[in-house]
Amino acid sequence: MKDILKLLEEDSRYTPAQIAAMTGKNEEYVRETVKRCEEEHIINGYTALVDWDRTSEEAVTAFIEVKITPQRDDGYDRIARRIYQYDEVESLYLMSGSFDFSVIVSGKSLREVSRFVAEKLAPIEGVTGTATHFIMKRYKDKHRAFIVEPEQEERTLFV
């Protein structure tokens, strides 16, 4: 299973036939494993890594530190749920250290994201403070560099 997951993490477009060939398993086994992983939420979806900066679309992403007061019984989870249900929220992590949640929020403009923080996120009961950091440039995401490095000069040689 680990081999299959690693390959899908590398490129989720690999077909079951390709994965089967690369791992030495049969195709049926690969299909079943992937299906089971999806059912058990080991695999939670497939997506593309888009660099919106290379399009004409306006896009803004912010990383927001959120401090909260944990609630009786539910601890952090109830507040987390109240945050991550918003479509604007790309990612949400519970952190160790000087703040509690790390929230990644994306929107069309600075104003849109700011409004989300001011009007939706900050007023949630239990949230005691936020610090918003706008992302200026994305160099690397999910092990992929977003910067295109120059190609080495063409070579003809025989090795």
């Binding site: 490129d11 690999y14 390709q18 060939a21 690369m22 791992t23 003809t156 025989f158 090795v159």
Partner: protein
């Protein structure tokens, strides 16, 4: 006018630039072809290794090193060979650092040969051995290894070509281009043949880290061969460091001491920046090796299945990163096959005939390329074969 034909060395003029010049001429004009031709890792050197090279420059380490290379690099080589291959060499006297494995091979040959001495070279294999032997006034003696023997050199084949003039036996395993390996029992059988001779083994182990399913065994692992073996290895294939030109040679002190003289006069010392990077590679690069090998292995399986699915007979390579399928039987020489495939489908693979006698009827395909390139190349090869089979 100078008549250069008259004044140039006969030895140099006798060398073939490449057995398949025409093929390379076409490849030269075709810059957009998918190239599965060049035999090198498709990874960039891991960052921590590059960073160590950069840091050495920042510190101003830009002078020569000692002729044999940085002692701390030789110590790391010694530790590495012991850790990974159970090989024991003293860093002070049995190891020195060369400009790639290629220089090391050249030095071994030049150190051992007197004019007229014979060097046994199993083929198909990498192209450098024969020409280097010729340049050292030696005589290359080629032995064709066979697919049915998984391209191993058998004791019978070896025995048949040994003469009183035989000085060196080249063992190019894991093999480029076949992907064949030699296991301990195979080496023991050769050791038996060599026992009563004075033949030295030149073991080119540049692909030693790239074996699939079994660990590489060096002839120097056999006590009966240790004293007569020169081990050549390097950083190019195992750490994706081809451009750094870092190799090394290990062997009996008496040989290494003589060999170092040629290196001293011809090279001085291997590049200093590269040596500092190499120290870092050996200190903390084992994980990189595993990662890359694992990645090649996946692509190896993918390509092998692809080739076999289209009906090509192909030995399952057990080392290096090449497939060597049989492409004979279409009425084309391997050079014609690869040339037409390149022209029609814009994919570069290397005719087996480039790797010496015994390579005809095969082609070498490097699978150190992206899965996308491999899939595209396979699909074009499938189409090409269909047309050949249909008589076009």
């Amino acid at each position: 006018m100078m008549d250069y034909e008259k004044i140039l060395s006969k030895n140099v003029r006798s060398l073939q630039p490449s057995g398949i010049r025409k093929f390379f001429d076409i490849l030269d004009t075709m810059k957009d072809a998918i190239s599965l031709g060049i035999g090198e890792p498709d990874f960039v050197t891991p960052w921590h290794i590059r960073e160590a090279g950069i840091y050495s420059l920042e510190q101003g380490f830009t002078k020569y090193t000692s002729n044999a290379g940085l002692i701390r690099l030789r110590r790391e080589v010694s530790l590495y060979l012991n850790r990974r291959f159970d090989l024991k060499y003293r860093p002070e006297s049995q190891i020195f650092i060369t400009v790639g494995g290629s220089e090391a091979i050249d030095l071994c040959i030049r150190t051992m040969l007197d004019p007229g001495d014979e060097v046994i070279i199993p083929v198909p294999s990498f192209v450098c051995y024969g020409p280097l032997v010729t340049m050292a006034d030696g005589v290359p003696v080629y032995v064709e290894t066979k697919a049915e023997n998984e391209f191993r050199l058998t004791p019978e084949e070896l025995r048949a070509v040994i003469t009183p003039r035989t000085k060196l036996l080249v063992l190019p395993y894991p093999n480029n281009p076949t992907g064949g390996i030699m296991e301990r029992a195979d080496l023991e059988a050769l050791a038996e043949v060599l026992r009563d001779t004075d033949i030295t083994v030149l073991s080119d182990e540049i692909y030693a880290e790239l074996t699939y399913g079994q660990k590489h065994v060096s002839p120097a692992n056999l006590p009966e061969l240790y004293d007569r073996t020169l081990v050549v290895n390097g950083f190019s294939k195992s750490y994706a460091m081809t451009g750094w030109r870092m190799g090394y040679v290990c062997g009996p002190e008496a040989v290494i001491r003589q060999m170092l003289k040629i290196h001293q006069y011809g090279i001085m010392s291997a590049p200093t920046t590269s040596q500092y990077a190499a120290v870092e590679a050996l200190r903390s690069g084992d994980g990189d090796i595993e990662m890359m090998r694992d990645s090649y292995d996946k692509r190896r399986r993918l390509m092998l299945k692809g080739l076999r699915d289209m009906g090509l007979s192909c030995f399952e390579p057990r080392g290096a990163f090449y497939m060597f399928p049989q492409i004979g039987g279409f009425g084309l020489t391997s050079e014609e096959f690869c040339t037409e495939f390149l022209r029609e489908e814009r994919v570069a693979i290397i005719p087996g005939s480039a790797f010496g006698p015994g390579g005809e009827g095969y082609a070498r395909i490097c699978y150190a390329s992206s899965v996308e390139n491999i899939e595209t190349a396979l699909s074009r090869l499938g189409g090409f074969l269909d047309r050949l089979r249909a008589g076009r």
